[in-house]
Symmetry: C2
Subunit: 429 residues, 2 copies
């Protein structure tokens, strides 16, 4: 139920059979639907409007509104006169009714945020992730930073729903562990979830950074933007995709959906470790683009360096030079845009989504250039062009999208409508 | 409700909001869950076992079983003594309780089948689809064949749930029309659904052939095989994918999911019309493989021909030669297997499914060769290897998989649990 901060148990598919649903599951689901409708209407909604928006009966809306008011998740915000009859009471989200912490574990920087129920960042701190640091030191730092943000904010601990962690994939969802992420050496099979639970005493969930980014977009982006079906192309140290179908995140059988590193986007491109050529991993990552730029004569102080920080710096310079019109930098990023369009075409043709969102820390500095090329190129490659339009946009959440998503993982799991939560859980043998 | 043969209205996402659910929707959903559990247990299940399998209460199982018995969808099949206490009545599917017709519209041959509730083919007929035939002639032939199969079978028309059509994509789901399928000239924007409704008086649905194949696998394959998440790689005149996530088909925003023709699987391969090289469309289709074989010196009577029937014949010969160990034919198909593995790696890494199914009319003759290469190659390319196993198998439904799937579309929409059907429909403005 809403209010206890506990995560709902998700049902397991037993011996292939689907599970039924019952009244308590239905009540929880409808409560989430009402909360989501209120959340997506910053100006608030009356009970009558909520019934229209959700299809639920006036009685159901009235009962659920009462429960949400009692749980402090929504509040009454004045009355509205609308035609004849009694003025209607407006219900609005209570942003301070629940909070969540989120940590984005990244090869260069770990970001911790505190999010309120409206998806606003209340507090934020960045801590370095030096590659020589041991995993337990980084986990200690995350726990300490999360605790400090919570205390400094002065919010009531009972209103904290938990701590979400976004990390590079692949992950082992059963162990709550990272499984040898290519850019985080020494992190093989580190049980981040349990370690953080022990240190913080908080409810902890772990998910892939790209999935977290999609959840951020679904939860924290402008009202309406997070609905429907979309692919979030996340450009970080690595590149991956978050997938949302009909408003729900597609995580896959073991939460590892969204791996796109070996999709070929440039058949004439360099060889890849997978045995193919021109894969995303060797043509689209910040490191690949910086190396391409250097190879064509691009100059930066760190030219030829291989460490993550040097690549970061060089990429920033590449983006800045392209922004000021330097032909070589523009050429490199135009090529990148063509490859991103090809990658997005693979995903949108396979999944036939409504729209795509581009985001992540390395997308921010090149977003204008990407938006001038990607939509046009992608449209030319779409199988469903002429049948329905495809929206292309950039995330409004900036560099912190994965950290915001990490916190949103907690809010999404506890408070968003999940059709899977309608199914009765199977008993574990 | 079950029994009237009508299709459930699927909810529309309104202005971005999710819809709630209510008791009637829940009752329908649970009824589908119980029917599916019975359907997947050929030996039958007692009410107690059904309660365990679905998580539903004994009272709910009892009420729903009564309704399913009244609707002739299940029957009582003797009693079983199990420990102390009253013997338990076994409930089994009544295969003759409902039927559906399916038509697979294909460039070379159109297949019409009559399916019972157990997914068994009761009757089947193939009619030619000469390319010079006009769409209205083909539609006339489908309607006449469907009617003849129905009459010859002697089944009660009231037990027919409808007629499903599987066709090459893309499709326009609103108009129920094909949208210029590359291999069916003259079929641009032909409103197959409405034309067939007019001629047959039956409920008609239209879907992509690859989606129908996935539904066939989900509905008609051996018990348990259709659950979970899987990708169906369909090898027909064209190649596409059907996607099932958590037991439900992913159709996309406009029912056009599953387009894989321009995924690059051989960067050194031939140029494609899309501007890239080595796409599925130019390296994996039967025509591409036959041309590759001819190019390497492979001999067949039709060498150099371009019409669909000649390609069909040459592909059959290629498959037969490979089957008898001809080195050149084996080489061509081994290369094809590597490309299929790369295509499947793109999809399984993106979606993290439990398993993949290979099928379709052109897969059948080469399935042994594919199964000796694809699983090993695919495993080497999987991001989630070591985290969970991936099953790889071939469809047991053979050449008729798309026609069976077309009929299963009808059964699936009316009788399978669909979480979307739990959501209250939005009112169209």
């Amino acid at each position: 139920m809403v209010g206890d901060g506990a995560l709902r148990a998700l049902p397991l598919d037993g011996a292939g059979g689907r599970r039924g649903t019952n009244l308590p599951a239905m009540g929880d689901f409808n409560q989430s639907v009402i909360l989501e409708a209120v959340r997506r209407a910053p100006q608030g909604l009356s009970r009558v409007e909520l019934a229209e928006a959700t299809g639920l009966s006036a009685q159901t809306v009235s009962n659920i509104s009462r429960r949400l008011l009692d749980a402090d998740l929504i509040s009454e915000a004045g009355k509205e006169v609308s035609g004849p009859g009694k003025p209607r009471t407006i219900l609005r989200l209570n942003p301070g009714g629940r909070f969540a912490l989120g940590a984005h574990l990244d090869p260069t920087v770990t970001t911790v945020v505190l999010l309120d129920l409206a998806g606003s960042v209340i507090a934020r701190e960045r801590i370095g992730t030096p590659l020589q640091q041991r995993p337990d030191e980084v986990i200690d730092a995350i726990a300490a930073t999360a605790e400090r943000l919570l205390i400094d904010s002065g919010i009531d601990r009972s209103r904290l729903a938990g701590l979400g962690v976004a990390a590079p994939g692949p992950i082992d969802p059963v162990a709550g562990a990272l499984v040898g992420p290519p850019n985080l050496q020494g992190w093989h099979r580190v049980a981040v979830r349990d370690e953080l639970r022990l240190r913080s005493g908080m409810e902890v969930v772990v998910d892939k950074d790209v999935t977290a980014a999609a959840v951020a977009e679904k939860w924290a982006a402008a009202s309406g933007a997070g609905s429907g079906s979309f692919v979030f192309l996340y450009v970080g140290t690595g590149i991956g995709a978050g997938i949302v179908v009909d408003g729900e995140v597609v995580r896959g059988s073991a939460d590892n959906a969204g791996e796109v590193g070996h999709i070929v986007v440039d058949p004439g491109g360099p060889e890849c470790t997978c045995g193919s050529r021109g894969c995303v991993a060797v043509t689209c990552t910040p490191e690949a683009l910086v190396r391409e730029w250097w190879g064509l004569g691009g100059r930066s102080a760190d030219r030829g360096a291989t460490d993550t920080e040097a690549i970061d710096g060089a990429f920033t310079l590449l983006a800045a030079e392209a922004g000021s019109g330097d032909p070589l930098a523009v050429l490199v990023l135009e090529r990148a845009a063509m490859r991103f369009a090809r990658l997005l075409a693979v995903m949108t043709n396979l999944l036939d989504v409504d729209r795509v969102v581009l985001g992540g820390p390395f997308l921010t500095p090149i977003s204008a250039l990407m938006m001038s090329t990607v939509p046009v190129e992608l449209e030319g490659l779409r199988a469903a062009r002429g049948i329905h339009p495809l929206g292309v946009g950039t995330s409004a959440l900036g560099d912190d999208v994965a950290a915001i998503g990490a916190a949103a993982l907690i809010l999404d799991r506890t408070l968003s409508p999940q059709t899977r939560s309608l199914m009765l859980p199977a008993i574990l043998a």
